[in-house]
């Protein structure tokens, strides 16, 4: 989880009924309402094609909305797009980097784009390369970087002008777990320093770990919004899966029923929803032990954001069961 929200009084991002319709009547974003407070990490969670990237492109002034309005850092994205661009940092999907440039050249170019003097650009490039662990690779061409290094460079370049609001579009898609963790840590650190972060993701774990609040988007609309904990609490309580060593299932069910609603058994295991959450696990174990029931396995299953998504849309998030590709060696 990221830093606590600093202030709910100031909205870093305010979106009202935002819409984007493409040629042929395709409505990618269909009336999004949201508000992100200054200093918050907000995750936009949804499957491919849900409207996440289109929303980010509108908020970063890369695409004009066809309806509704949005303000970023207090500026309207259409009427005052220049002021928005001065206030934001953007790292878009697939890390759009020129493979022929070196990492240092890219950050210095980004500094020039934001009006920093040459010497200041050079100083910040050095500092940012150090921050994301790319000092050694700074003078190598980006084409020789691994996926994780590219994402870190992209993140560093988005920070060169110290933006108030940082937009990250699927910052870890396709990365190995080690690289993903490095990006998460950097995003959390930035947030602790006061940067508001708006990120899109299709990874449940990413939203769960990083975000103060999550907006779940499907077919261009937000279907649920809240803290990861509150969203999960909305769809149910954690349940306990009890595997028995012997055949005393009926007796065990009676014991477990005292702690909450019994759920249909699964794979021979007894399932019970814990009325008062994880704090009751020890009591269940004790009760089973006192009843002389031998337990083979015990697993506390928390509701996931995928359960929330299923609850709201009737479908699972794509790849909800496979969080990340297999780990790959970082070629840094």
């Amino acid at each position: 989880m990221g830093a606590a929200v600093h202030s709910r009084a100031v909205a870093a991002i305010e979106v009202e009924g935002l819409k984007r319709e493409f040629e042929g009547g395709i409505r990618a974003v269909d009336g999004v309402f949201l508000e992100v407070a200054e200093g918050e990490i907000y995750a936009f969670l949804g499957p491919n094609g849900a409207g996440k990237t289109t929303t980010v492109r509108m908020l970063t002034t890369l695409l004009r909305p066809t309806g509704g309005s949005a303000r970023v850092a207090g500026h309207d994205v259409v009427a005052d797009s220049g002021a928005v661009r001065r206030a934001i940092g953007v790292a878009l999907q697939e890390a759009a980097l020129d493979p022929l440039m070196t990492g240092r050249e890219l950050i210095r170019l980004q500094a020039t784009l934001h009006g920093l003097a040459g010497s200041e650009g050079a100083r910040r490039a050095e500092a940012l390369l150090g921050r994301v662990g790319l000092t050694q690779a700074g003078d190598r061409r980006v084409g020789t970087y691994s996926g994780g290094m590219r994402r870190r460079l992209d993140l560093a370049s988005a920070l060169v002008h110290e933006p108030r609001v940082l937009f990250l579009d699927e910052p870890t898609t396709g990365l190995d777990p080690v690289s993903r963790k490095a990006i998460w840590e950097e995003v959390a650190a930035l947030n602790r320093e006061g940067t508001t972060v708006f990120l899109t993701t299709q990874y449940l774990e990413e939203a769960d770990q990083l975000a103060d609040r999550v907006g779940i988007i499907a077919t261009g609309r937000i279907v649920a919004e809240g803290t990861p904990t509150s969203l999960k609490a909305e769809v149910g309580k954690p349940h306990l899966e009890v595997g028995l060593a012997d055949g005393s299932a009926e007796h065990a069910e009676q014991v477990c029923a005292a702690f909450g609603r019994r759920l249909p058994a699964k794979d021979g295991k007894i399932l019970v929803e814990l009325e008062h959450g994880a704090s009751e696990v020890a009591k269940v174990v004790r009760a089973l032990d006192e009843a002389g029931i031998a337990v083979e396995s015990l697993e506390l299953v928390e509701p996931t954001l995928d359960d929330v998504f299923v609850d709201k849309t009737g479908e699972h998030l794509e790849g909800a069961d496979k969080q990340a590709p297999p780990a790959q060696a970082e070629s840094a």
């Binding site: 970063t60 953007v90 009006g115």
Partner: protein, 261 residues
């Protein structure tokens, strides 16, 4: 920093990137320098007796005539390469990085054209060096050579803007690359490689009014024939016309791209 100063710095930085990009990618350098140089060698060696044709302009050798054609060919290809590079930037999303910065978005196109201008100037110097090595004498001396560089540089910007417009409209490098054959048709239907007055109809009429012919003649006059104010005016006019139309088309294509997304 004022908006104008910021955008001027951005144009310079993007121009520098564009030049670096070309120099670091051999496949972009070869069409600009190697191919026109080889064609120049082949044509000069194989068709040198063309100078003996009746009504062929007074020259010391075929290279005197051909050098302007090689320059304009390299310039066209430099402009086209700039368009391809811009389309590649669009394809890989690099332009989004630029579009999301607080700069004039047309500065992004101008930055690309600044790089093309530098490459244009470099090609002019390259062919002037070849001409000097192989004994070509410049009728107008050093001022003439400087004027050639200016014409070639400005032409590169004009052709580059046209390629940029197509790149912005299509957003695909393959489309801009597909212009190569068309460029050669336009080039051969001008007086770049052969005097228009010796061509057969209808090619002769097309070449006579082809704006490239006016530009080539203005460049060539610095080597053979000598400076002529009327030709100078026609050359400047042709470059200005192509440049104005191309830049206007680029602006329209850019606006459309930003609107469509």
């Amino acid at each position: 920093m004022s908006g104008l100063a910021l955008n001027a710095r951005v144009v310079g930085a993007l121009g520098m990137r564009s030049v670096r990009q070309t120099l670091r990618r051999p496949q972009l350098v070869s069409p600009i320098l190697i191919f026109p140089t080889l064609l120049l060698a082949v044509q000069t060696g194989g068709a040198g007796s063309a100078v003996d044709l009746p009504d062929f302009p007074e020259v010391n050798g075929f290279l005197d005539f051909m050098i302007a054609g090689a320059m304009i060919q390299a310039t066209l290809l430099a402009g086209n390469s700039g368009g391809i590079a811009l389309a590649v930037d669009l394809e890989m999303g690099f332009t989004d990085r630029l579009f999301s910065a607080p700069i004039s978005r047309f500065a992004i196109v101008l930055g690309r054209l600044a790089g093309t201008a530098v490459l244009g100037a470099f090609t002019a110097l390259w062919f002037i060096a070849i001409a000097l090595i192989f004994g070509v004498q410049f009728e107008e001396g050093i001022p003439g050579a400087v004027l050639m560089i200016v014409f070639v540089t400005l032409s590169a910007v004009a052709f580059g803007a046209l390629s940029a417009a197509i790149a912005l409209y299509a957003g695909q490098a393959s489309v801009v690359q597909g212009l190569f054959p068309l460029l050669f048709v336009i080039l051969f239907l001008s007086s770049a490689f052969f005097p228009a007055e010796l061509m057969l109809e209808p090619a002769a009429s097309v070449a006579e009014y082809n704006p490239l012919s006016f530009i080539v003649t203005g460049i060539r006059d610095q080597v053979v024939g000598g400076f002529d104010l009327a030709v100078f005016a026609e050359t400047v006019g042709a470059i200005a016309l192509i440049g104005a139309i191309s830049i206007a088309l680029s602006a329209v294509a850019l606006r459309r791209r930003l609107r469509v997304g």
